[in-house]
């Protein structure tokens, strides 16, 4: 059973990566707009990543318990550093270069946040006493402190600006909070409070972020500007119909109608060239992988492990659902990658590391 879960994680991960690589090759092999080098780059990442995943699977994840806070603190410093001296691309500062390797700290934040929250929540003990003061203490320790800790990185990522990842952080926090066992009244009271802030938050959004949200409501507002991406992406998806236009045969993809098709919009390449059949196969593998993760979370006996598993599964599920949803026009374009399939070293490696953790967790379900 243990070996079985491990095998399945390997199988699903490799299946998803393979489908991603096939699509990435199709998106780049003509070497126009999207250079072919990104395919080889990704291939290299896959090689490195699988080795990394193997070794992480062998490492005791509890070592990460010890460094969780430190790791998070370092990550926050990196996020600061990005805002101050990061590389500017497409109107946002997201990359930072350390020792000749450039990466996105915000991707690393996903991991750091999961570990930090995992350690924090696993240290919480159910309160045994009652009373008003005690209740306030529960709310303070069980909700406000972890939220403030999360909010630091959320804010820094939002300033980059990267609304999508920032909201994703909130999603992870919320799901882990939900699992932490805090009373429903506090959790949903908190959610209601957050939602009531949304109208005010509109004011602090950048104009392009507003555009994207408005265009999501009606892409034809600006078909050649902000609406272009979503229209072309929907056309690509839809025109694949049942069986797709065949590998390397997607006209939307090959004739450059799809912008960002190697990163955020890789799923529309799959949808166009492999049709609904290919899209469903990929979605199905994601679902199986997520299901595996939830099974692990259920079986892991120590709380840190459970929180980490839940965090990993939720980030995977959130990104898959949001990315596919946005490619089809169900969600606004928020710039979240499709795990394992989109091109992007930081994103890819962070997800690989997470899978390494899951492997590890699947092996250590009980503490003797």
């Amino acid at each position: 059973m243990r070996r079985d879960l491990e095998k399945r994680i390997w199988l699903y991960t490799i299946a998803i990566i393979s489908i991603g690589l096939v699509a990435l090759y199709s998106a780049s092999f003509q070497n126009v707009r999207v250079p072919l080098t990104i395919f080889y780059d990704q291939l290299l990442c896959v090689g490195v990543g699988l080795v990394l995943m193997y070794f992480l699977g062998k490492t005791d994840y509890r070592k990460f318990y010890d460094i969780a806070y430190l790791f998070y603190a370092l990550n926050v410093i990196l996020l600061f550093a990005v805002l101050i001296g990061g590389r500017n691309a497409l109107g946002a500062r997201r990359w930072i270069e350390i020792a000749g390797i450039s990466f996105q700290p915000s991707e690393l934040t996903k991991l750091a946040l999961i570990l930090m929250l995992g350690r924090y929540f696993s240290n919480r003990r159910p309160s045994l006493s009652f009373g008003v003061f005690n209740k306030m203490q529960v709310v303070f320790r069980g909700l406000i402190i972890p939220f403030l800790l999360t909010a630091v990185s959320m804010f820094l990522i939002f300033k980059q600006p990267d609304l999508g990842t920032s909201l994703l952080m909130f999603g992870i926090f919320f799901i882990m909070l939900f699992v932490s066992g805090l009373e429903y009244s506090y959790i949903f009271g908190f959610l209601a409070l957050c939602l009531s802030v949304v109208p005010f938050a509109w004011g602090i959004l950048r104009s392009y972020q507003k555009d994207r949200l408005l265009v999501f409501l009606n892409p034809n507002i600006d078909p050649l500007g902000a609406g272009y991406t979503i229209i072309q992406s929907k056309i690509a998806m839809g025109s694949g119909r049942i069986f797709g236009k065949g590998w390397l045969g997607g006209t939307q993809n090959q004739l450059n109608f799809l912008p960002e098709r190697h990163t955020d919009f890789i799923f529309s390449v799959i949808g166009e060239e492999w049709g609904i059949v290919g899209a469903l196969v990929l979605v199905f593998f994601y679902f199986l992988l997520i299901n595996c993760g939830l099974n692990i979370a259920n079986q892991v006996k120590d709380k840190f492990g459970m929180y980490v598993a839940v965090g990993i599964v939720s980030i995977l599920a959130l990104q898959v659902v949001i990315n596919i949803g946005m490619v089809m026009g169900l969600f606004p374009i928020v710039g979240l990658t499709l795990p394992f399939a989109s091109y992007g070293r930081s994103s890819f490696l962070v997800f690989i590391i997470m899978m390494g953790f899951l492997l590890n967790l699947s092996k250590r379900r009980t503490i003797f």
Binding site: K234, I242, Q252, L294, V321
Partner: protein, 571 residues
Amino acid sequence: MRIKIIRIVFVISFIIIIAGLFYVQAIRGQYYYDLSVNNRIRIVHLEGWRGNIKDRNGKVLVDNRISYDVMITPQEIKNIKDLFEFLSKALNVDKEELIDTYRRNKFAPFAPVIVAKDIDRMKAIVIEENKYLYPSLFVQESYKRIYPFDKIGAHVLGYVDKVNRAKIERFKEYGYSFRSTMGYSGVEEYYDSYLKGQEGGLQIEVNSQGKQVRLLSIKEPTKGQDITLTIDNDLQLISAQLLEDKNGVIIVMDNENGEVLSMVSSPSYDPNIFSDSKKRKKMSMLFSDVNSPLLNRAVSGVFPPGSVFKAVVAVSGLASKKITMQTTFDCGGFYELGGIRFGCTHVHGIQNLVQSLAHSCNVYYYNLGLLVGADRINQVARSLGLGEPTHIDLPFEKAGYVPSRRQSILFGKRKWYTGDTLNFSIGQGDTLTSPIQFVKMMATIVNDGNEVQPHVIKLIGSLPVDTYSIKRDVKIDKSIFIEVKKGLRAAVSEYSGTAHILDIEGLYVAGKTGTAQSSRNKEHHAWFIGNVISKRKNLSFCVFLEHGGSSQNSTLIARQLLLLMQKEELL
């Protein structure tokens, strides 16, 4: 427990995603598939070119020439500064001006912008030779209509221009697009469907920048059919020369078959203005000119006929059998009705029909009109083609108006008085006729009641158009026309005739003069409607001068016309 809830939420999210995939790909798939096909396939239009128009002797009256336009595709510009520097040097135009034109006309990165229209061939070659340095640049060839004789015969020929918004809706299904040119007025409009070339096109696959990836199919454009007119250009030149600086019309038509040999309306316009971008500025002047140069007065102008109408009254008098050739009326210089004097030009004394036509005696026709009645005159006028379109093959023909008592009572504001009948009998009052109607009427009289159909078309391609060479009997006794013709001849042959100056040796000339009072205190309109028979030809003709004063003026021009025709051996 809470993990179970999370699992349920995830399952629901995935179900939503899968449902979304079904909706977009399976249900709406065909719609998006069609959109993706539209995305990548572009049609590049190749302009067809129009057929030529020739005169009856094969002289080319309307031709095409190739024009070269300089185009720039915005998305392919590498260095905008270099490009415009080169263009400015090559075209010898100010750089700022070029950039300005470019900025004004640019609307999409993939759509080429015209920066210079109709440049010299040599300049076009220079630009084409340097094209490899400036990939965004190209020279587009198109066909421009040219009219070598400028103003001469412009009203018959018409002009071409871009299809306008109002017309595109109506003509879309006949293969016109907003790019096509079409004929406006004249033969260019009337025979547009024959003259128009077939538009061709390239079907190409493009990428997202609109760059061609491959050619899918091609349809060659074709030239429209050539058209040969019945018009004689030499005669057109003569007519145009005679009407120089005057407002008026000259029409010459063959009585045998209704072929119009000459039709000139003055003032005229230069149709090149509409197809030559450099001359386009003059266009608005044409539209605002008080002399309406765009109006073809020969078919679209309607005027009071004056004494020319007496020929109609003469026919109706004989047709109604109220008079014979011997019936006379005494002209004392006026006719008194209810204390009002209706005047005549002279005191003619006793006049019979022939004399009355020769001298254009008003009093004779007052009497005759009252005898015959307005209804009968109206009926005869209509059967002779007045107040009715002649259906000549030119657009915008006006029917004119022949008043009748019934219409006046039914629709008019006032009753029909006896005085109206008097005015009607000498071609005054509300009657309005066009010059071509009178030419047709004259032919009917000359042909003893056989009506011909005036037309300008002779051949389409190499096929003769014979639908117009039919004759129609107007159902008035032949002998009546023979008698009336005597009167028309007398106007020329008699020393006292109103058109005696047309008595030219070697020619049989007959006709009727007319001086029509026009409103607004302007000069009278001067008419002459005639028939000339030479050894070779039997023609009807009309000389009309708008506000040209007395009919002597038009008769004088008719004389010059006949003399020149005789000299140029056109008779």
